[in-house]
Protein backbone atom coordinates (compact mmCIF):
# COMPACT_ATOMS: atom_id res chain seq x y z
CA UNK A 1 0.00 0.00 0.00
CA UNK A 2 2.86 2.33 0.89
CA UNK A 3 4.58 1.34 -2.31
CA UNK A 4 7.57 3.16 -3.63
CA UNK A 5 6.40 6.40 -2.04
CA UNK A 6 8.08 5.56 1.26
CA UNK A 7 11.50 6.28 -0.19
CA UNK A 8 10.81 9.98 -0.65
CA UNK A 9 9.00 10.18 2.64
CA UNK A 10 10.66 13.36 3.79
CA UNK A 11 10.19 15.34 0.60
CA UNK A 12 7.72 18.22 0.79
CA UNK A 13 4.08 17.53 -0.02
CA UNK A 14 4.07 19.92 -2.97
CA UNK A 15 6.95 17.94 -4.41
CA UNK A 16 5.15 14.66 -3.95
CA UNK A 17 2.00 16.02 -5.60
CA UNK A 18 3.94 17.37 -8.56
CA UNK A 19 5.70 14.05 -8.97
CA UNK A 20 2.58 11.94 -8.79
CA UNK A 21 0.52 13.75 -11.43
CA UNK A 22 2.69 13.40 -14.56
CA UNK A 23 3.61 9.76 -13.93
CA UNK A 24 0.01 8.57 -14.03
CA UNK A 25 -0.81 10.40 -17.27
CA UNK A 26 2.42 9.20 -18.85
CA UNK A 27 1.52 5.65 -17.98
CA UNK A 28 -1.91 6.05 -19.56
CA UNK A 29 -0.48 7.47 -22.77
CA UNK A 30 2.13 4.74 -23.09
CA UNK A 31 -0.56 2.13 -22.51
CA UNK A 32 -2.89 3.05 -25.39
CA UNK A 33 -0.96 1.87 -28.43
CA UNK A 34 0.06 -1.36 -26.76
CA UNK A 35 -3.61 -2.40 -26.60
CA UNK A 36 -3.63 -2.24 -30.42
CA UNK A 37 -0.69 -4.63 -30.46
CA UNK A 38 -3.02 -7.35 -29.23
CA UNK A 39 -5.07 -7.13 -32.45
CA UNK A 40 -2.06 -7.79 -34.61
CA UNK A 41 -1.85 -11.59 -34.31
CA UNK A 42 -5.52 -12.51 -34.95
CA UNK A 43 -5.83 -10.08 -37.87
CA UNK A 44 -2.59 -11.35 -39.35
CA UNK A 45 -3.72 -14.99 -39.16
CA UNK A 46 -7.19 -14.13 -40.54
CA UNK A 47 -5.66 -12.34 -43.54
CA UNK A 48 -3.26 -15.24 -44.11
CA UNK A 49 -6.13 -17.75 -44.16
CA UNK A 50 -8.24 -15.52 -46.38
CA UNK A 51 -5.39 -15.28 -48.89
CA UNK A 52 -4.74 -19.03 -48.74
CA UNK A 53 -8.37 -19.81 -49.61
CA UNK A 54 -8.59 -17.05 -52.27
CA UNK A 55 -5.48 -18.30 -54.09
CA UNK A 56 -6.64 -21.91 -53.92
CA UNK A 57 -3.86 -23.00 -51.55
CA UNK A 58 -6.47 -24.29 -49.09
CA UNK A 59 -9.98 -25.51 -49.43
CA UNK A 60 -12.30 -23.41 -47.20
CA UNK A 61 -15.20 -25.80 -46.75
CA UNK A 62 -14.62 -27.03 -43.18
CA UNK A 63 -12.65 -23.96 -42.11
CA UNK A 64 -14.38 -21.11 -43.91
CA UNK A 65 -12.36 -17.95 -44.59
CA UNK A 66 -13.10 -14.83 -42.49
CA UNK A 67 -15.04 -13.17 -45.30
CA UNK A 68 -17.60 -16.05 -45.34
CA UNK A 69 -17.96 -15.98 -41.56
CA UNK A 70 -18.55 -12.25 -41.61
CA UNK A 71 -21.06 -12.62 -44.44
CA UNK A 72 -22.94 -15.31 -42.47
CA UNK A 73 -22.90 -13.15 -39.36
CA UNK A 74 -24.16 -10.21 -41.40
CA UNK A 75 -26.90 -12.32 -42.94
CA UNK A 76 -28.06 -13.55 -39.54
CA UNK A 77 -28.09 -9.98 -38.28
CA UNK A 78 -30.07 -8.81 -41.34
CA UNK A 79 -32.82 -11.36 -40.87
CA UNK A 80 -32.95 -10.53 -37.16
CA UNK A 81 -32.21 -14.15 -36.23
CA UNK A 82 -28.91 -13.22 -34.58
CA UNK A 83 -30.61 -10.80 -32.19
CA UNK A 84 -33.33 -13.28 -31.24
CA UNK A 85 -30.77 -15.97 -30.45
CA UNK A 86 -28.34 -13.62 -28.71
CA UNK A 87 -31.10 -12.10 -26.62
CA UNK A 88 -32.39 -15.54 -25.58
CA UNK A 89 -28.90 -16.62 -24.50
CA UNK A 90 -28.28 -13.36 -22.67
CA UNK A 91 -31.59 -13.60 -20.86
CA UNK A 92 -30.82 -17.15 -19.64
CA UNK A 93 -27.35 -16.14 -18.46
CA UNK A 94 -28.69 -13.08 -16.66
CA UNK A 95 -31.46 -14.90 -14.80
CA UNK A 96 -29.11 -17.76 -13.90
CA UNK A 97 -26.40 -15.32 -12.89
CA UNK A 98 -28.68 -13.27 -10.64
CA UNK A 99 -30.00 -16.37 -8.87
CA UNK A 100 -26.57 -18.02 -8.57
CA UNK A 101 -24.74 -14.84 -7.55
CA UNK A 102 -27.31 -13.81 -4.95
CA UNK A 103 -27.33 -17.20 -3.26
CA UNK A 104 -23.53 -17.32 -3.51
CA UNK A 105 -23.23 -13.91 -1.86
CA UNK A 106 -25.67 -14.75 0.94
CA UNK A 107 -24.24 -18.19 1.75
CA UNK A 108 -20.67 -16.97 1.26
CA UNK A 109 -21.26 -14.09 3.66
CA UNK A 110 -22.81 -16.38 6.25
CA UNK A 111 -20.06 -18.95 5.99
CA UNK A 112 -17.34 -16.30 6.01
CA UNK A 113 -18.57 -14.35 8.99
CA UNK A 114 -19.50 -17.08 11.46
CA UNK A 115 -17.36 -20.04 12.45
CA UNK A 116 -20.44 -22.06 13.45
CA UNK A 117 -22.27 -21.44 10.20
CA UNK A 118 -19.14 -22.26 8.25
CA UNK A 119 -18.84 -25.60 10.00
CA UNK A 120 -22.49 -26.20 9.28
CA UNK A 121 -22.58 -25.15 5.61
CA UNK A 122 -19.15 -25.51 4.14
CA UNK A 123 -18.68 -29.33 4.17
CA UNK A 124 -21.96 -29.88 2.34
CA UNK A 125 -21.29 -27.17 -0.23
CA UNK A 126 -17.74 -28.41 -0.80
CA UNK A 127 -19.09 -31.91 -1.36
CA UNK A 128 -21.65 -30.59 -3.88
CA UNK A 129 -18.91 -28.64 -5.59
CA UNK A 130 -17.02 -31.86 -6.26
CA UNK A 131 -19.86 -32.96 -8.55
CA UNK A 132 -19.34 -31.77 -12.13
CA UNK A 133 -22.28 -29.40 -12.64
CA UNK A 134 -23.23 -30.95 -16.00
CA UNK A 135 -24.00 -34.17 -14.12
CA UNK A 136 -27.08 -32.46 -12.72
CA UNK A 137 -28.61 -32.03 -16.15
CA UNK A 138 -30.68 -35.25 -16.25
CA UNK A 139 -32.01 -34.62 -12.77
CA UNK A 140 -32.85 -30.98 -13.52
CA UNK A 141 -34.71 -32.06 -16.65
CA UNK A 142 -36.70 -34.62 -14.66
CA UNK A 143 -37.49 -32.13 -11.95
CA UNK A 144 -37.92 -28.91 -13.87
CA UNK A 145 -38.80 -30.02 -17.38
CA UNK A 146 -36.95 -29.52 -20.64
CA UNK A 147 -37.71 -25.79 -20.94
CA UNK A 148 -36.29 -22.67 -19.35
CA UNK A 149 -36.32 -23.63 -15.66
CA UNK A 150 -33.84 -26.49 -16.00
CA UNK A 151 -31.50 -24.38 -18.15
CA UNK A 152 -31.53 -21.47 -15.74
CA UNK A 153 -30.97 -23.87 -12.82
CA UNK A 154 -27.86 -25.32 -14.45
CA UNK A 155 -26.43 -21.86 -15.09
CA UNK A 156 -27.24 -20.76 -11.53
CA UNK A 157 -25.37 -23.78 -10.13
CA UNK A 158 -22.38 -22.93 -12.30
CA UNK A 159 -22.37 -19.31 -11.12
CA UNK A 160 -22.98 -20.15 -7.47
CA UNK A 161 -19.74 -21.93 -6.58
CA UNK A 162 -17.11 -19.38 -7.64
CA UNK A 163 -19.17 -16.62 -6.04
CA UNK A 164 -19.68 -18.56 -2.80
CA UNK A 165 -16.01 -19.49 -2.53
CA UNK A 166 -14.83 -16.00 -3.47
CA UNK A 167 -17.03 -14.18 -0.96
CA UNK A 168 -16.34 -16.56 1.93
CA UNK A 169 -12.61 -16.49 1.19
CA UNK A 170 -12.57 -12.70 0.91
CA UNK A 171 -14.24 -12.27 4.30
CA UNK A 172 -11.88 -14.76 5.94
CA UNK A 173 -8.86 -12.95 4.55
CA UNK A 174 -9.81 -9.43 5.64
CA UNK A 175 -6.79 -7.88 7.36
CA UNK A 176 -7.17 -8.35 11.12
CA UNK A 177 -5.25 -5.10 11.58
CA UNK A 178 -7.98 -3.09 9.88
CA UNK A 179 -10.67 -4.87 11.88
CA UNK A 180 -8.82 -3.78 15.03
CA UNK A 181 -9.08 -0.17 13.89
CA UNK A 182 -12.83 -0.72 13.93
CA UNK A 183 -12.64 -2.22 17.42
CA UNK A 184 -10.61 0.72 18.72
CA UNK A 185 -13.35 3.09 17.54
CA UNK A 186 -15.93 0.77 19.15
CA UNK A 187 -17.93 -0.02 16.03
CA UNK A 188 -20.91 -2.31 16.54
CA UNK A 189 -21.05 -5.58 14.59
CA UNK A 190 -23.28 -4.01 11.95
CA UNK A 191 -21.08 -0.92 11.66
CA UNK A 192 -18.00 -3.11 11.44
CA UNK A 193 -19.57 -5.09 8.60
CA UNK A 194 -20.66 -1.96 6.75
CA UNK A 195 -17.65 0.28 7.29
CA UNK A 196 -14.78 -2.21 7.20
CA UNK A 197 -15.69 -5.73 6.06
CA UNK A 198 -17.86 -4.74 3.09
CA UNK A 199 -15.38 -2.32 1.48
CA UNK A 200 -12.51 -4.68 2.24
CA UNK A 201 -14.10 -7.62 0.43
CA UNK A 202 -15.36 -5.64 -2.58
CA UNK A 203 -12.32 -6.16 -4.82
CA UNK A 204 -12.37 -9.92 -4.33
CA UNK A 205 -16.16 -9.96 -4.60
CA UNK A 206 -15.90 -8.31 -8.03
CA UNK A 207 -13.42 -10.97 -9.13
CA UNK A 208 -15.72 -13.70 -7.84
CA UNK A 209 -18.68 -12.21 -9.74
CA UNK A 210 -16.62 -12.00 -12.90
CA UNK A 211 -15.58 -15.63 -12.77
CA UNK A 212 -19.20 -16.51 -11.95
CA UNK A 213 -20.35 -14.65 -15.04
CA UNK A 214 -17.72 -16.40 -17.13
CA UNK A 215 -18.94 -19.78 -15.91
CA UNK A 216 -22.52 -18.66 -16.61
CA UNK A 217 -21.60 -18.23 -20.28
CA UNK A 218 -19.89 -21.61 -20.25
CA UNK A 219 -22.92 -23.35 -18.83
CA UNK A 220 -25.43 -21.64 -21.08
CA UNK A 221 -23.86 -23.50 -23.98
CA UNK A 222 -24.30 -26.82 -22.21
CA UNK A 223 -27.86 -25.84 -21.29
CA UNK A 224 -28.72 -24.94 -24.88
CA UNK A 225 -27.24 -28.18 -26.17
CA UNK A 226 -29.94 -30.05 -24.28
CA UNK A 227 -32.77 -29.25 -26.55
CA UNK A 228 -33.34 -25.60 -27.25
CA UNK A 229 -35.04 -24.04 -30.23
CA UNK A 230 -33.50 -20.63 -29.65
CA UNK A 231 -30.19 -19.25 -28.43
CA UNK A 232 -26.64 -19.07 -29.69
CA UNK A 233 -26.11 -22.63 -28.44
CA UNK A 234 -28.92 -23.73 -30.71
CA UNK A 235 -27.12 -22.08 -33.66
CA UNK A 236 -24.08 -24.22 -32.81
CA UNK A 237 -26.04 -27.47 -32.73
CA UNK A 238 -27.97 -26.48 -35.85
CA UNK A 239 -24.74 -25.61 -37.67
CA UNK A 240 -23.29 -29.00 -36.83
CA UNK A 241 -26.39 -30.93 -37.91
CA UNK A 242 -26.79 -28.96 -41.14
CA UNK A 243 -23.07 -29.02 -41.91
CA UNK A 244 -22.63 -25.24 -41.77
CA UNK A 245 -19.24 -24.52 -40.19
CA UNK A 246 -19.59 -20.81 -41.01
CA UNK A 247 -22.71 -20.64 -38.85
CA UNK A 248 -20.89 -22.41 -35.99
CA UNK A 249 -18.00 -19.94 -36.20
CA UNK A 250 -20.41 -17.01 -36.46
CA UNK A 251 -22.15 -18.21 -33.30
CA UNK A 252 -18.79 -18.64 -31.55
CA UNK A 253 -17.85 -15.08 -32.44
CA UNK A 254 -21.22 -13.88 -31.19
CA UNK A 255 -20.59 -15.76 -27.92
CA UNK A 256 -17.18 -14.15 -27.56
CA UNK A 257 -18.54 -10.65 -28.17
CA UNK A 258 -21.50 -11.18 -25.85
CA UNK A 259 -19.34 -12.61 -23.06
CA UNK A 260 -16.73 -9.89 -23.36
CA UNK A 261 -19.39 -7.16 -23.42
CA UNK A 262 -21.12 -8.57 -20.34
CA UNK A 263 -17.78 -8.81 -18.50
CA UNK A 264 -16.83 -5.26 -19.47
CA UNK A 265 -20.21 -3.96 -18.29
CA UNK A 266 -19.80 -5.74 -14.97
CA UNK A 267 -16.28 -4.35 -14.65
CA UNK A 268 -17.42 -0.82 -15.50
CA UNK A 269 -20.34 -1.03 -13.08
CA UNK A 270 -18.11 -2.12 -10.19
CA UNK A 271 -15.11 0.06 -11.04
CA UNK A 272 -16.19 3.04 -8.89
CA UNK A 273 -16.37 0.70 -5.89
CA UNK A 274 -12.77 -0.45 -6.13
CA UNK A 275 -11.12 2.67 -7.53
CA UNK A 276 -8.97 2.96 -4.41
CA UNK A 277 -7.20 -0.29 -5.13
CA UNK A 278 -3.48 -0.15 -5.70
CA UNK A 279 -2.75 -3.31 -7.64
CA UNK A 280 -1.82 -4.44 -11.11
CA UNK A 281 -5.02 -6.49 -11.11
CA UNK A 282 -7.13 -3.46 -11.97
CA UNK A 283 -5.62 -3.38 -15.44
CA UNK A 284 -6.91 -6.85 -16.29
Amino acid sequence: MTGNAASNAWSSHEGAAALAAPTSTEKRRAFDWRILLGFFLPIFIALLWEAAVTFGLAEGRLVPPPSRIIATLWGLAQTGELWTHAWMTLWRVLVGFVIGALSGIVLGALSGSSQTLRQLLDPTLQALRAIPSIAWVPLFILWLGIFEASKVALIAVGVFFPVYLGIAGAILSVDRKLVEVGHVFRLSRVQLARRILLPAVLPEAVIALRSGLGLGFMFVVAAEFMGASEGLGYLLVDGQQMGKPDQILAAIIAFALLGKTADSLLLAATKPLVRWQDTVRERL
Binding site: M1, T2, G3, E180, V181, H183, V184, F185
Partner: protein, 266 residues
Protein backbone atom coordinates in the same frame (compact mmCIF):
# COMPACT_ATOMS: atom_id res chain seq x y z
CA UNK B 1 0.21 16.79 36.73
CA UNK B 2 -2.01 16.22 39.65
CA UNK B 3 -4.45 13.38 39.49
CA UNK B 4 -3.78 9.80 38.57
CA UNK B 5 -4.85 9.29 35.02
CA UNK B 6 -3.84 5.80 34.08
CA UNK B 7 -2.67 3.09 36.45
CA UNK B 8 -1.70 -0.55 36.20
CA UNK B 9 -2.15 -2.78 39.21
CA UNK B 10 -0.42 -6.17 39.23
CA UNK B 11 -1.11 -6.35 35.53
CA UNK B 12 -0.16 -9.67 33.92
CA UNK B 13 -0.72 -11.21 30.54
CA UNK B 14 0.01 -14.81 29.65
CA UNK B 15 -0.84 -15.80 26.08
CA UNK B 16 -2.65 -19.02 25.25
CA UNK B 17 0.64 -20.69 24.31
CA UNK B 18 2.05 -20.00 27.78
CA UNK B 19 4.19 -16.98 26.85
CA UNK B 20 4.40 -14.66 29.84
CA UNK B 21 4.31 -11.37 27.97
CA UNK B 22 3.73 -9.25 31.08
CA UNK B 23 4.20 -10.15 34.73
CA UNK B 24 3.03 -7.97 37.61
CA UNK B 25 3.26 -4.51 36.05
CA UNK B 26 2.64 -1.67 38.49
CA UNK B 27 2.80 1.86 37.18
CA UNK B 28 0.95 5.13 37.46
CA UNK B 29 0.88 7.65 34.65
CA UNK B 30 -0.22 11.17 35.54
CA UNK B 31 -2.61 13.36 33.62
CA UNK B 32 -0.92 15.01 30.66
CA UNK B 33 2.30 13.08 31.20
CA UNK B 34 4.26 11.58 28.32
CA UNK B 35 5.74 8.24 29.32
CA UNK B 36 8.16 6.41 27.05
CA UNK B 37 8.32 2.62 27.32
CA UNK B 38 11.77 1.44 26.25
CA UNK B 39 13.11 -2.05 25.89
CA UNK B 40 14.28 -4.63 23.40
CA UNK B 41 11.76 -6.58 21.39
CA UNK B 42 9.74 -9.14 23.29
CA UNK B 43 9.48 -7.06 26.48
CA UNK B 44 5.71 -6.95 26.19
CA UNK B 45 5.47 -3.30 25.14
CA UNK B 46 2.98 -3.96 22.37
CA UNK B 47 1.07 -6.30 24.66
CA UNK B 48 0.78 -3.57 27.28
CA UNK B 49 -0.61 -1.06 24.75
CA UNK B 50 -3.06 -3.63 23.39
CA UNK B 51 -4.36 -4.24 26.89
CA UNK B 52 -4.88 -0.52 27.47
CA UNK B 53 -6.60 -0.16 24.09
CA UNK B 54 -8.92 -3.03 24.98
CA UNK B 55 -7.81 -5.18 22.03
CA UNK B 56 -6.73 -8.00 24.37
CA UNK B 57 -7.76 -9.05 27.86
CA UNK B 58 -5.35 -9.13 30.81
CA UNK B 59 -4.79 -12.45 32.55
CA UNK B 60 -4.58 -10.87 36.00
CA UNK B 61 -4.57 -7.44 37.60
CA UNK B 62 -6.34 -4.38 36.24
CA UNK B 63 -5.97 -1.13 34.39
CA UNK B 64 -7.69 1.96 35.76
CA UNK B 65 -8.50 5.09 33.85
CA UNK B 66 -9.45 7.89 36.25
CA UNK B 67 -10.40 5.23 38.76
CA UNK B 68 -12.63 3.35 36.35
CA UNK B 69 -11.50 -0.22 35.61
CA UNK B 70 -11.05 -0.64 31.87
CA UNK B 71 -12.79 -3.49 30.10
CA UNK B 72 -12.62 -3.31 26.34
CA UNK B 73 -12.00 -0.33 24.05
CA UNK B 74 -12.70 2.99 25.78
CA UNK B 75 -13.82 6.16 23.97
CA UNK B 76 -11.17 8.23 25.78
CA UNK B 77 -8.32 6.01 24.64
CA UNK B 78 -6.77 6.45 21.20
CA UNK B 79 -4.00 4.41 19.60
CA UNK B 80 -1.50 4.86 16.79
CA UNK B 81 -0.12 1.55 15.59
CA UNK B 82 3.31 0.76 14.31
CA UNK B 83 1.90 0.66 10.77
CA UNK B 84 -0.43 3.51 9.66
CA UNK B 85 -3.40 1.11 9.25
CA UNK B 86 -5.33 3.60 7.14
CA UNK B 87 -8.43 2.31 5.41
CA UNK B 88 -7.37 2.19 1.75
CA UNK B 89 -10.89 2.86 0.43
CA UNK B 90 -11.29 6.15 2.31
CA UNK B 91 -9.74 9.48 1.34
CA UNK B 92 -7.27 11.09 3.72
CA UNK B 93 -10.08 13.32 5.00
CA UNK B 94 -12.45 10.42 5.64
CA UNK B 95 -9.71 8.40 7.28
CA UNK B 96 -9.10 11.17 9.79
CA UNK B 97 -12.85 11.51 10.32
CA UNK B 98 -13.30 7.76 10.80
CA UNK B 99 -13.77 7.91 14.56
CA UNK B 100 -15.98 11.01 14.51
CA UNK B 101 -19.41 9.45 14.39
CA UNK B 102 -22.12 11.20 16.36
CA UNK B 103 -20.58 14.58 15.53
CA UNK B 104 -22.36 17.15 13.35
CA UNK B 105 -21.13 17.50 9.77
CA UNK B 106 -19.90 21.06 10.33
CA UNK B 107 -18.05 20.15 13.51
CA UNK B 108 -16.57 17.14 11.75
CA UNK B 109 -15.30 19.24 8.88
CA UNK B 110 -13.86 21.84 11.20
CA UNK B 111 -12.03 19.32 13.34
CA UNK B 112 -10.61 17.32 10.45
CA UNK B 113 -9.53 20.47 8.61
CA UNK B 114 -7.81 21.72 11.72
CA UNK B 115 -6.01 18.39 12.14
CA UNK B 116 -5.00 18.46 8.46
CA UNK B 117 -3.50 21.91 8.98
CA UNK B 118 -1.63 20.69 12.03
CA UNK B 119 -0.03 17.83 10.15
CA UNK B 120 0.54 19.91 7.02
CA UNK B 121 -1.52 17.78 4.65
CA UNK B 122 -4.41 20.14 3.81
CA UNK B 123 -3.89 19.85 0.06
CA UNK B 124 -3.88 16.05 0.30
CA UNK B 125 -7.34 15.81 1.91
CA UNK B 126 -8.96 14.16 -1.12
CA UNK B 127 -6.21 11.71 -2.03
CA UNK B 128 -6.11 7.99 -1.40
CA UNK B 129 -3.74 6.71 1.29
CA UNK B 130 -1.85 4.79 -1.40
CA UNK B 131 -0.73 8.09 -2.91
CA UNK B 132 0.99 9.23 0.29
CA UNK B 133 4.52 8.52 1.46
CA UNK B 134 5.06 6.39 4.56
CA UNK B 135 5.68 9.44 6.74
CA UNK B 136 2.57 11.20 5.44
CA UNK B 137 0.48 8.09 6.09
CA UNK B 138 1.71 7.92 9.66
CA UNK B 139 0.84 11.61 10.13
CA UNK B 140 -2.71 10.86 8.96
CA UNK B 141 -2.85 7.98 11.41
CA UNK B 142 -1.77 10.28 14.25
CA UNK B 143 -4.37 12.86 13.21
CA UNK B 144 -7.07 10.14 13.14
CA UNK B 145 -6.26 9.34 16.76
CA UNK B 146 -6.13 13.01 17.83
CA UNK B 147 -9.39 14.31 16.31
CA UNK B 148 -11.50 12.36 18.78
CA UNK B 149 -9.73 14.27 21.59
CA UNK B 150 -8.60 11.19 23.53
CA UNK B 151 -7.56 11.61 27.14
CA UNK B 152 -5.03 8.84 26.73
CA UNK B 153 -3.05 8.37 23.56
CA UNK B 154 -1.05 5.21 22.92
CA UNK B 155 1.72 5.12 20.33
CA UNK B 156 3.42 1.83 19.43
CA UNK B 157 6.78 2.57 17.81
CA UNK B 158 4.96 4.85 15.39
CA UNK B 159 8.10 6.20 13.78
CA UNK B 160 10.32 3.13 13.73
CA UNK B 161 9.85 2.45 10.03
CA UNK B 162 10.77 6.00 9.02
CA UNK B 163 14.06 7.69 8.23
CA UNK B 164 15.68 10.15 10.63
CA UNK B 165 14.50 13.31 8.82
CA UNK B 166 10.88 12.21 8.74
CA UNK B 167 11.08 11.09 12.34
CA UNK B 168 12.32 14.47 13.55
CA UNK B 169 9.55 16.31 11.69
CA UNK B 170 6.94 13.87 13.01
CA UNK B 171 8.14 14.51 16.56
CA UNK B 172 7.30 18.17 16.00
CA UNK B 173 3.90 17.38 14.49
CA UNK B 174 3.15 15.09 17.42
CA UNK B 175 4.17 17.66 20.04
CA UNK B 176 2.18 20.31 18.15
CA UNK B 177 -0.97 18.23 18.42
CA UNK B 178 -0.20 17.23 22.00
CA UNK B 179 0.17 20.89 23.10
CA UNK B 180 -3.46 21.58 22.19
CA UNK B 181 -5.24 19.18 24.51
CA UNK B 182 -2.34 17.69 26.47
CA UNK B 183 -3.54 14.11 26.61
CA UNK B 184 -1.72 11.49 28.64
CA UNK B 185 0.65 9.72 26.26
CA UNK B 186 2.21 6.27 26.45
CA UNK B 187 4.85 6.03 23.76
CA UNK B 188 6.61 2.77 22.95
CA UNK B 189 9.99 3.22 21.35
CA UNK B 190 13.35 1.56 21.04
CA UNK B 191 14.99 4.87 20.16
CA UNK B 192 16.51 6.49 23.24
CA UNK B 193 16.89 9.87 21.52
CA UNK B 194 13.19 9.79 20.68
CA UNK B 195 12.29 9.01 24.28
CA UNK B 196 14.39 11.89 25.60
CA UNK B 197 13.01 14.25 22.94
CA UNK B 198 9.39 13.55 23.76
CA UNK B 199 8.87 12.03 27.19
CA UNK B 200 8.59 13.23 30.79
CA UNK B 201 9.59 9.82 32.04
CA UNK B 202 11.30 6.77 30.60
CA UNK B 203 10.22 3.34 31.74
CA UNK B 204 12.78 0.66 30.93
CA UNK B 205 11.38 -2.84 30.46
CA UNK B 206 12.89 -6.31 30.55
CA UNK B 207 11.78 -9.49 28.80
CA UNK B 208 10.90 -13.03 29.88
CA UNK B 209 8.62 -12.31 31.56
CA UNK B 210 7.95 -8.72 30.49
CA UNK B 211 8.37 -6.42 33.48
CA UNK B 212 9.50 -2.96 34.49
CA UNK B 213 13.21 -2.71 35.20
CA UNK B 214 13.64 0.97 35.95
CA UNK B 215 12.02 4.40 35.71
CA UNK B 216 13.89 7.59 34.89
CA UNK B 217 12.38 11.09 35.06
CA UNK B 218 13.26 13.29 32.09
CA UNK B 219 12.77 16.80 33.39
CA UNK B 220 14.32 18.88 30.62
CA UNK B 221 12.47 22.08 29.75
CA UNK B 222 10.48 22.14 26.50
CA UNK B 223 11.12 22.73 23.67
CA UNK B 224 14.09 20.43 24.03
CA UNK B 225 17.42 21.24 22.48
CA UNK B 226 18.73 17.99 21.05
CA UNK B 227 22.25 19.33 20.81
CA UNK B 228 22.64 20.57 24.37
CA UNK B 229 24.56 18.90 27.17
CA UNK B 230 21.49 18.19 29.38
CA UNK B 231 19.97 16.25 26.48
CA UNK B 232 23.15 14.24 26.06
CA UNK B 233 23.27 13.48 29.77
CA UNK B 234 19.69 12.24 29.79
CA UNK B 235 20.31 10.06 26.77
CA UNK B 236 23.34 8.57 28.52
CA UNK B 237 21.35 7.87 31.68
CA UNK B 238 18.66 6.04 29.75
CA UNK B 239 21.27 4.12 27.77
CA UNK B 240 22.98 3.07 30.99
CA UNK B 241 19.70 1.81 32.41
CA UNK B 242 19.03 -0.09 29.16
CA UNK B 243 22.51 -1.60 29.35
CA UNK B 244 21.89 -2.81 32.87
CA UNK B 245 18.54 -4.25 31.88
CA UNK B 246 20.16 -6.24 29.09
CA UNK B 247 23.39 -7.34 30.73
CA UNK B 248 22.36 -8.13 34.25
CA UNK B 249 18.77 -9.34 34.37
CA UNK B 250 19.12 -10.13 38.08
CA UNK B 251 20.58 -6.80 39.13
CA UNK B 252 18.48 -4.50 41.27
CA UNK B 253 17.16 -1.35 39.65
CA UNK B 254 19.39 1.64 40.04
CA UNK B 255 16.45 3.93 40.22
CA UNK B 256 17.30 5.65 43.49
CA UNK B 257 20.92 6.29 42.71
CA UNK B 258 20.02 7.73 39.34
CA UNK B 259 17.40 9.98 40.87
CA UNK B 260 19.91 11.35 43.32
CA UNK B 261 22.46 11.85 40.59
CA UNK B 262 19.89 13.72 38.52
CA UNK B 263 18.94 15.89 41.47
CA UNK B 264 22.58 16.75 42.09
CA UNK B 265 23.17 17.56 38.49
CA UNK B 266 20.34 20.03 38.38
Amino acid sequence: MGRFMLSFEHLSKTYADGTRALADINLTVHEGEIVALIGGSGCGKTTLLRLIAGLDRESAGRIRLDGEVLSGPHPAVGIVFQEPRLLPWLSVFDNIAFGLSGVSAAERKARVTHALEKIGLVEHADRWPRDLSGGQQQRVSIARAFVTNPKVLLLDEPFSALDAFTRASLHEHLLGLWEETRPTVVLVTHDVQEAVTLADRAVVMQPKPGRIFDELPLTLARPRDRTGLPFETSVRRVLTALDHSLKAPQEQPQRERDRQAAALWW
